[in-house]
C-alpha cells in the first residue's frame, strides 16, 4: 500500500508547475477582511505548515483550497486547473483534495469501514469489494484495522482522527489539507496522529497543515507560513522561523506559545 501511494503521486507528478496556486485571493465576512491578497504556491510533495494567532484566517484559507469557502476575488488553481463553480466539476476536484477536520467529522451512522468505503464507491465508482480491500489496508496502515466494524462513537479521538485520515486517503488525493487535526485530542493521543501524518509527508504527499505542533513543523514541514489578520506575514523554513522569526507579530506569537 505504501509503495502504491507513492507511485500514484509520482505518476501524477509528470505535470509541472505548482500543485496548488493562490493568486491575489481576497475574502470578507461582512466588514471583516478575513483573507487579504493571499499569494501562495505549493509544489508537489511539499509540506506547508500554517501557523498564527486565533482568528487570523488559517482555517478560512485552508477551506478555500477545496472551495468549502468561496472567495471574493483572486484565483485558486489545483494542478493547473482553476477551481470550478459549485457542481459536478467541483465535486470531482474536491475528491482530489483530501480534508481532515479538527472535529474528525466521521459519518456517525456508518461503521469505520463504511466511512472509508463510502466515497470510493459513490464518488470514484470503485467496485465494492475493491473499495473494502483498500479501506482495510488503509485502516491497517493507520493502526485501526481492528476497529473496522465499530461505529465512530466507540473509538477514542485519536483513533477517530486516524480513520478520518484513512477516509481521505482512500480517494487517492493529490493534496491533503489538515485543519488543526490534533487540537481536539487529549495530549496522549496527539502523537499517534502526528506519526501518521509524518509518514505521509515522508512518502511525498503534498500537505497543507494548520497546526501549532512545533515538533511536527520542524520534523516534517518544508515551509512554515505565519498568518496574522488575514495576511501571510512571514514564510520561512521551520528552523529559521522558529529560531529567528523576523516580524514582530511572529516573535510575539512564538513567545506566547513557547511559554507553555
Amino acid at each position: 500500500m505504501t509503495e502504491e501511494t507513492v507511485s500514484d503521486t509520482a505518476s501524477d507528478a509528470v505535470a509541472t508547475g505548482p500543485l496548488v496556486s493562490l493568486k491575489g485571493v481576497d475574502k470578507h465576512y461582512g466588514a471583516l477582511h478575513v483573507l487579504q491578497d493571499i499569494n501562495l504556491e505549493i509544489a508537489r510533495g511539499e509540506v506547508v505548515v500554517l501557523i498564527g494567532p486565533s482568528g487570523s484566517g488559517k482555517s478560512t484559507l485552508c477551506r478555500t483550497i477545496n472551495r468549502l469557502e468561496t472567495i471574493d476575488s483572486g484565483s485558486i488553481a489545483i494542478d493547473g486547473r482553476p477551481l470550478p463553480a459549485e457542481g459536478k466539476e467541483l465535486a470531482r476536484l474536491r475528491a482530489d483534495v483530501g480534508m481532515v477536520f479538527q472535529s474528525f467529522n466521521l459519518f456517525a451512522h456508518k461503521t469505520v469501514l463504511e466511512n472509508v468505503v463510502l466515497a470510493q464507491v459513490k464518488v470514484r465508482k470503485v467496485p465494492r469489494a475493491q473499495a473494502e480491500a483498500t479501506a482495510r489496508e488503509l485502516l491497517e496502515r493507520v493502526g485501526v484495522g481492528a476497529q473496522a466494524d465499530k461505529y465512530p462513537a466507540q473509538l477514542s479521538g485519536g483513533q477517530q482522527q486516524r480513520v478520518a485520515i484513512a477516509r481521505a486517503l482512500a480517494m487517492k488525493p493529490k493534496v491533503m489539507l489538515f485543519d488543526e487535526p490534533t487540537s481536539a485530542l487529549d495530549p496522549e493521543m496527539v502523537n499517534e496522529v502526528l506519526e501518521v501524518m509524518r509518514s505521509l509527508a515522508a512518502e511525498g504527499m503534498t500537505m497543507v497543515v494548520v497546526t501549532h505542533e512545533m515538533g511536527f513543523a520542524r520534523s516534517a514541514a518544508n515551509r512554515v507560513l505565519f498568518m496574522a489578520d488575514g495576511r501571510i506575514v512571514e514564510e520561512n523554513t521551520p528552523d529559521a522561523f522558529f529560531t529567528a522569526p523576523r516580524s514582530d507579530r511572529a516573535k510575539d506569537f512564538l513567545s506566547k506559545i513557547l511559554t507553555h
Binding site: L68, E86, R94, L118, V123
Partner: protein
C-alpha cells in the same frame, strides 16, 4: 349502538372509511414527496429554490385547510383545470401537509452537525448524495416523532374533504342523520373508525422508531 349493522348502513360506512383511507394514503405519499423536495430546496445552495421553499411553507402552513380547499375547488376550475373532487382533495391535502413535512425534515436536517455535510462534500459527494446518504439518514431519528404527529393528523384533516363532495368517512354522518339515527350513536362509530386509523399510523411509526434505534 347496533345501527351500523342494519339497513345496509355498514356498506355506506365502510365505503366512507375506505375513501378516508385512500384519500389519506395518497395524500400522505404526495405530501412526503413534496415535503422532501421542498426541504431539499430550503437547504439548497440556490437562492431561488430556497425562496420558493420558504414561500410555499409560509403560504400553505398558515392558511386554514378549509380555505385551501375553497381555493383549489373554486379557483382551479376558473383556470380551466377540471378534475374530480377526489383529486382536488388530494391536491389540497398534499400541498398543506407537504409544508409541514418540509419543516419537520428541515429541522431534522438542522440537528445533524454541519461537519457531516462538509466531510461528505470534501470527499467529492454532490448535494443529492450528501443529503441522501449522510444527512437525511442521521436526521431520521429526530424526524420520526414529529412526522408521526403529522400523519396522525392527516386522516382527521381529510374530513374537510367531506364538505367538498368527497364521500369520506365523516360525511357519512349526514346520511345517517337523514335516516333519523341519534347523532351520538353515529358519532361514536365514526370516532371509533378514526381512532383505529390513528392507532395504526402511530403503531407503524413506533415500529420504524424501534428499527432505527437498533440500526446503530
Amino acid at each position: 349502538m347496533g345501527i351500523l349493522f342494519e339497513d345496509g348502513n355498514f356498506s355506506l360506512f365502510y365505503h366512507g372509511f375506505l375513501q378516508t383511507i385512500e384519500l389519506s394514503a395518497i395524500s400522505a405519499l404526495f405530501a412526503l414527496l413534496l415535503g422532501g423536495v421542498l426541504a431539499a430546496f430550503r437547504v439548497s445552495p440556490v437562492p431561488v429554490l430556497r425562496a420558493f421553499g420558504t414561500g410555499w411553507v409560509m403560504v400553505f402552513r398558515n392558511t386554514p385547510l378549509t380555505l385551501l380547499f375553497f381555493g383549489v375547488v373554486f379557483a382551479l376550475p376558473r383556470l380551466d383545470v377540471h378534475l374530480s373532487s377526489f383529486t382536488f382533495a388530494v391536491m389540497a391535502l398534499s400541498a398543506y401537509t407537504g409544508a409541514f413535512v418540509c419543516e419537520v425534515l428541515r429541522s431534522g436536517i438542522n440537528t445533524v452537525p454541519l461537519g457531516q455535510a462538509e466531510a461528505a462534500r470534501s470527499l467529492g459527494m454532490g448535494f443529492g448524495q450528501t443529503l441522501g446518504t449522510i444527512v437525511l439518514p442521521q436526521a431520521a431519528r429526530s424526524v420520526l416523532p414529529p412526522m408521526s404527529s403529522i400523519f396522525i393528523a392527516l386522516p382527521r384533516n381529510s374530513a374537510v374533504a367531506g364538505a367538498f363532495n368527497v364521500p369520506e368517512l365523516f360525511s357519512t354522518q349526514k346520511a345517517f342523520d337523514e335516516k333519523g339515527y341519534p347523532i351520538f350513536v353515529t358519532f361514536f362509530w365514526i370516532a371509533l373508525a378514526y381512532l383505529l386509523v390513528s392507532f395504526t399510523v402511530s403503531a407503524v411509526f413506533r415500529v420504524l422508531e424501534k428499527q432505527l434505534a437498533v440500526a446503530r
